[in-house]
Symmetry: C2
Subunit: 515 residues, 2 copies
């Protein structure tokens, strides 16, 4: 009576070349023999079985017309690649089991506290591909009101660590740092890692791609070298150089995080609980023992007030404590962008200038990198903060950090020149005055509309700082884009949001004078 | 400098026949001239413009390989049909504007109270197709913790009414009823509408399809007659017969509701605020002045306790009051399914038996229909509840309600025989005993796994009631399915959830004896 998939006539796999992003999708002809007999036409998800016994759950689209023959089944790129299929491979389809852990997501929606096992079953189902995008969106949103308790964030973090690979360096001291973001251009990580590794610390740094920002460290580093390292490659780089600057997503360190981040980006939601679990699960999986968290605070940064920063820091400390991780928080100035560039390649140019001690290097980026590296050195070396910062500065100015950075990039596959964008648009001052406000959020939005981070050369260059005196016709910001369409899109948005940079007159009472 | 879509070379529209459900999707070749020049490869959403100046926002999938020629652009069925395209129609693509109202959704995620204008802009963007499924999922989830205030539910309801068509009957008394559901088989509506219309009341009833249940009234009525009426057709039916039994989705009465319901179904989330806004927006848009809300209460019904029922009733009353609607709440027994059938056609067979006064008619369904119709008659005729229920019973027993039901179905396009399912599976009692518990939720799940509501004949038949004495080998429930695959799927679930119906021994202390 029970038909097992194996007893049905198989369908032939066909690669359709459709990029459905990370959500595997299957295309089934309405006239397929299994469509009516198995009731697939009323399903939105289907279980795929290959002749090698591999399984994958995919979203199902029914197809009418001539696109597919009746005995074919079409695959999106992500489904094809995950199953490593060949054309005409035999394929069996069946009903997926109900996803039990969705009842825990619903419990969370209704405000119930979840326990270790419930988070683990949610995260396991996510990693196994049982959640459609709408389910991921519901989970992210349900955790998105900052209502997770520290106990729940701990459970979520542990579940995320357990769902993937972990590294064990067999060393008493493995350091890592993370900036909670929200501050465009704040690309200290490559500089800090170079300083710390040059000082002899072990820094197996993995970074994520941007969630809601125009660039993540992995996006920027990708313009300079290879970042998609395997675990084995990462071990080799860290073994020879003491540090690395890799993308975490290729290593299955907390793989649930990589799936959640894609939907968080579409929703532009990045909640406190998910943020802490995302950061700490990556650090623990990468084998870190000591972690420094940089929280920029400012009116248009991600964390807008010292109160909010204190609450976030308390949660970070409590969760780290539950997990046996040494953690220190550093509050930094979040009132304006750091460096000149916002966007993967533009930020790469800035950090190269700092590492190379060029006279054009942005001083604020240099000082922040020294501040963060100093705090970490003080934490693990048990020296004064003053001595630690002097050591960081010396390591940078002597060229030791630059040599270490080059060595890491060479070990990862070679140092590259970051690209430059052909399309530009300059916003110039229409009057003289002093820069009084810079809106981080609008700047980030313009950089994203210009194409960052998917287009590595796209972004915004901002040559002015708060308090700078500008003359009429001075450039206030420059949009960079890889094509005309995205440039126009960013310019349109800029024209609607001219408050991005505001000037005030130099002398009290004097009116700002137009050119 | 600015390229308008019209100044670019158009692409040729091609229908791919892919059913992406309600989410319009566009397939663009990676080698298309606009793909690089406009930066579409990094987009997930795109704005379509036709040569007739129509616009639609769609999800974007980039395609490599031979599926499409470089100057073609593929359309999913929903995108093709919404734009009413012809093959090779010229098509222009551009970047959609950022969806401003998503910032309100994020505010809701963070627990802020939204006002009239914010809900209106969210609902307008949803109706205009600016929300991808993940955005709908986030909005539903953010409103899903029953955290909407009565003021917010009122705003949401008004916004949903304003976003679609409305009916004005120019009558002082237009009645409607709604059951909040959660009780399988509780298909009183067609009987109640027939009684009330036979008594001379105006009942322009529109119903939705199932959200998380195995059947909605529209699903059941569709097995009996045409339910996809236009507004004009509905006016004619109600004009001639005093009542109708139509699907609301074809009329653009609160069209946002129809889009939200599709994602609510995928998430299996149906929150209190969304529930009230969904129900009342449909009633107000359909021109109702007096509404009766039936809330079944039981341990495995949607509303599990009298406390929860009271809270829900208070919110219903407060929101109706804000909107000038007369509303009365009726609490009913929600401890077990109503009638014998669960699923569109199975429920149709039950209600036909009641209307036709057949000796096999399920008594509980008949009595509930009389109870609901009586409460409504008492509310609007200002007679005692006793007299009103006697009037309802007389209208049913005299055949007047059955004559009215037939007349309504004829006016809607003719009365049909509901289908029957070829595949069955019987669960029989393995011992004698008394039925002590019936789990509504597990029953509903089995009916859905068997194919309901998409397969109209699928579902569960349950011939026993709480307290019934059953003999060994008596049938406890019968699964109906339209194909073997779904039958097996439902049977598997049943085998894992045998607690769906529990028996206890007849005499205290005596062990239940196996056959």
């Amino acid at each position: 009576m029970m038909l097992t998939p194996e007893r049905m006539a198989p369908l032939k796999a066909r690669r359709l070349g459709i990029d459905t992003h990370h959500e595997p999708t299957l295309y089934l002809p309405a006239n397929s023999h299994v469509c009516r007999s198995e009731g697939f036409e009323s399903l939105s998800r289907v279980l795929i079985t290959t002749h090698q016994g591999q399984h994958l759950i995919a979203s199902l689209n029914i197809v009418t017309g001539v696109l597919l023959a009746d005995d074919e089944v079409g695959f999106s790129e992500s489904a094809w690649q995950r199953l490593q299929l060949h054309p005409e491979d035999p394929i069996w389809l069946s009903h997926p089991k109900p996803v039990q852990s969705l009842s825990h997501v619903r419990a969370k929606v209704y405000g119930h506290e979840l326990d270790d096992l419930q988070f683990q079953s949610i995260i396991n189902d996510i990693v196994d591909g049982r959640y459609a995008d709408v389910h991921l969106a519901a989970f992210i949103t349900a955790c998105g009101d900052d209502s997770l308790t520290d106990r729940e964030i701990t459970s979520l973090t542990q579940a995320m660590v357990k769902s993937g690979s972990t590294l064990d360096w067999r060393l008493p001291l493995v350091v890592d740092k993370h900036c909670v973001g929200g501050l465009p251009g704040n690309r200290t990580t490559p500089i800090v890692v170079s300083i710390l590794a040059a000082c002899g610390l072990t820094v197996p740094k993995t970074s994520s791609r941007a969630i809601t920002s125009p660039a993540g460290t992995a996006d920027t580093m990708e313009t300079l070298t290879e970042v998609s390292l395997s675990l084995e490659q990462m071990r080799e780089v860290v073994g020879s150089e003491g540090g690395c600057l890799a993308w975490g997503g290729a290593m299955r360190l907390s793989p649930a995080d990589d799936l959640l981040i894609q939907v968080e980006r579409a929703l532009d939601i990045d909640s406190e609980g998910q943020l802490i679990a995302s950061v700490l699960s990556k650090k623990i999986a990468a084998g870190a023992t000591h972690v420094l968290i940089d929280i920029p605070v400012g009116p248009t940064a991600k964390v807008r007030s010292q109160d909010a920063a204190d609450r976030l820091a308390d949660s970070f400390r409590a969760v780290a404590d539950n997990l046996g991780l040494k953690l220190q928080v550093l509050f930094t100035d979040g009132s304006q962008p750091v460096g000149r560039g916002i966007g993967p390649a533009l930020e790469a140019h800035d950090l190269l200038a700092v590492l190379q001690n060029l006279p054009t290097a942005p001083l604020d980026l240099k000082q922040r990198a020294e501040q963060v590296a100093g705090a970490m050195l003080a934490m693990v070396r048990e020296i004064s903060l003053e001595d630690a910062q002097a050591l960081a500065e010396e390591t940078l100015c002597s060229g030791a950090a630059w040599a270490k950075f080059r060595a890491i990039c060479e070990a990862q596959g070679g140092l590259r020149h970051p690209p430059v964008a052909p399309y530009r648009y300059a916003l110039v001052a229409e009057r003289r005055g002093r820069v009084s406000t810079i809106d981080n959020r609008i700047l980030a939005k313009i950089a994203k509309l210009a194409g960052a981070p998917a287009d590595p050369a796209a972004g915004v260059e901002i040559p002015v700082k708060l308090g700078d005196e500008v003359e009429c016709q001075d450039i206030l910001l420059m949009i960079h884009a890889e094509n005309a369409g995205e440039l126009n899109y960013a310019v349109e948005y800029l024209n609607d949001h001219t408050q991005v940079i505001q000037l005030e007159s130099d002398t009290q009472g004097e009116q700002v004078s137009p050119c």
